[in-house]
Symmetry: C2
Subunit: 364 residues, 2 copies
């Protein structure tokens, strides 16, 4: 049950190709980014979104940007006089600036910074190689991250599907699917793996206002995968839980603090609280790269506030009076106490998360 | 702080004039119904909606229909031979059929049946009058119900505003405003009354998918009334509660069972549960006509399922893949245990509701 679409890829022409997620589900359009600015813009405008997907896309964007750095043209002798060091120092300063550009596009998902840092780290390690080789290594690393992300999601799927019963009505929020990753998906990957294992799965898809990633993306993916799905508005989840029609909730994550607090798409907190009140297990599926063990708890996670017109307009059409005040936080934080398990590619973490998460992450 | 619009009115030309709520907030358009079928259609398509408003509209629709009943043309002698009774029996049978037509338009709000039954009751009482006088009395009664509804809402506002603190950030769901009533509003009436009493009120407006009555109607009304309001998507309510930014919740109701279970717009249940989990008072404002004391609890309230395209399309634009399954219950039931008080025009009811509600309703 592989995806029949590709979220993000490095093309043979040395460009970054993305499925334009703002055009789904009515149009399947791919865009080709030729500059790092185009990649940054695609992330900012959410043509590509989802924590793991923007991690890989940022890495590809940085690799793309690296190709354009003309450090060879600097006067190395002059640079040395100024105390600026070698050609590599020039190159690396430019690369870091590009990384900052990418990291400023979306503040909440930690994978973006993780993707950028991973390439910066590689560049530093390769500092004694000719720049042309460093540039090639950056492309290779970004492409490896894409392939790795799919392997990670499949491993996560295997670990996670064991948590689902033989027959399960699974509720998910937003899109933590193939489109939110390099492919296969995190939460949707768990659902796919359960279906592949022969379990009878039906999915409740929260439409996920304001940007409707559930209606537009998750419904589309599940339909393509042949997994039965029923679309609902976000405010119906509690109603169907109360009626005993939801067996389990699985969602993705944009950043997870050391104590297990989870930042994810706005509305996740309400779903988690409702699930707890109804005795329904609430699981988070996310790769190790989504952990931010430097943060002791979720209160330290920056929450992106997006433009009011995402709420006041739908598909370009005004649905609220002009001049009305709007709040539009893109994420919320679900306390670890509401999270029954965090599913990663290295296994399933349970509370206390400040013990289980660092252990999975390989900290001493 | 009266409304500067009229939800529904009986015109001097003997027609029923409605503000078309499907066109708000971008266009303020009034439609004029000349037949009972046009009124029924306006209710079914939600050009007019809100339990008290459709109660008054149904009464006006029935009064409109009554004018067209040509019972005088029946052969009274022949009818008597057939055991069908008098002219009045003919007239009343036709009136009852019209009432059934209206009652079939929307199943959940009990006010609709209440409005129809009130006019049928009046007709029965007036059975010995000439038909032309009965017809005039029906119009007068429907018009009286409109004026009465506004008085009721103002009384409810007075009782309810006492429950709000001097400074209150009030969350409301859907539209229980002037547009949902003959004017002033139930939940919004409580908010208006608090503002009129000099309290510092700010309102969180849930947009209320799928039909966006919060974004389109409540936001519009509050803006006109000069009451500060912030529009949010439904899935943000829990987030702002968790941040301590919501002091109280006030919503309307479509039907209330004898035990205090409340049917209201889909999503109300989730808001009530979230409010309880955060220690935030949850109040329901509804006229006595919304009580259905014949139902022992909310499980007996019929829940209207509406068309899938309300979820898959917004403003005529498709937002979900073709062929996706959809659930679209228009209402949910909030258990009485989550309701801190029910505000009526006769005072505030508290648990146990099966004692307090019948007492307010004037049952022995």
């Amino acid at each position: 049950m592989a995806d029949d679409f590709v979220t993000v890829t490095w093309t043979p022409h040395g460009t970054v190709r993305l499925i334009d997620q703002t055009r789904l589900p009515t149009e399947e359009v791919y865009i080709e980014c030729r500059t790092i600015e185009e990649v940054a813009d695609a992330i900012r405008t959410m043509r590509v979104r989802g924590a793991p997907a923007i991690g890989v896309t940022a890495a590809m964007g940085l690799a793309l940007g690296a190709q354009t750095i003309q450090a060879e043209n600097f006067n190395a002798f002059f640079a040395a006089l100024e105390g600026m060091g070698s050609l590599f120092t020039e190159f690396f300063a430019a690369l870091e600036a590009m990384g900052s550009l990418l990291m400023r596009t979306r503040p909440t998902a930690v994978n973006l910074a993780w993707g950028v840092r991973r390439l910066l780290h590689l560049a530093r390690k390769a500092r004694d190689l000719p720049l042309v080789e460093i540039k090639a290594a950056l492309v290779a690393e970004a492409r490896a991250m894409q392939a790795e992300d799919i392997r990670i999601n499949r491993a996560m799927g295997q670990h996670g599907q064991g948590l689902l019963p033989e027959q399960a009505r699974v509720l998910t929020h937003c899109n933590a699917g193939g489109l939110a990753t390099a492919g296969y998906g995190t939460a949707v990957g768990v659902i796919r793996a359960a279906a592949e294992a022969g379990k009878r799965i039906m999915v409740w898809v929260d439409e996920t206002r304001p940007l409707l990633q559930g209606a537009r993306l998750t419904a589309w993916e599940l339909q393509r995968a042949g997994i039965p799905a029923t679309l609902i508005t976000d405010n119906m989840a509690g109603h169907f839980m109360a009626r005993g029609q939801v067996d389990v909730v699985v969602v993705g994550a944009d950043r997870i603090a050391r104590n297990g607090d989870v930042a994810n798409k706005i509305g996740t907190y309400s779903v988690a609280l409702l699930a707890r009140a109804h005795g329904i297990p609430f699981y988070v599926a996310a790769p190790i790269s989504t952990l931010d063990l430097n943060l002791t708890d979720g209160s330290q996670i920056p929450i992106e506030e997006r433009a009011p017109d995402e709420v006041t307009h739908i598909g370009g059409r005004r649905v609220a009076p002009a001049g009305i005040r709007v709040a539009n936080p893109a994420f919320d934080v679900t306390p670890a106490s509401f999270v029954d398990a965090i599913i990663t590619e290295r296994g399933v973490a349970r509370a206390p998360y400040d013990v289980s998460l660092p252990r999975l992450a390989g900290e001493a």
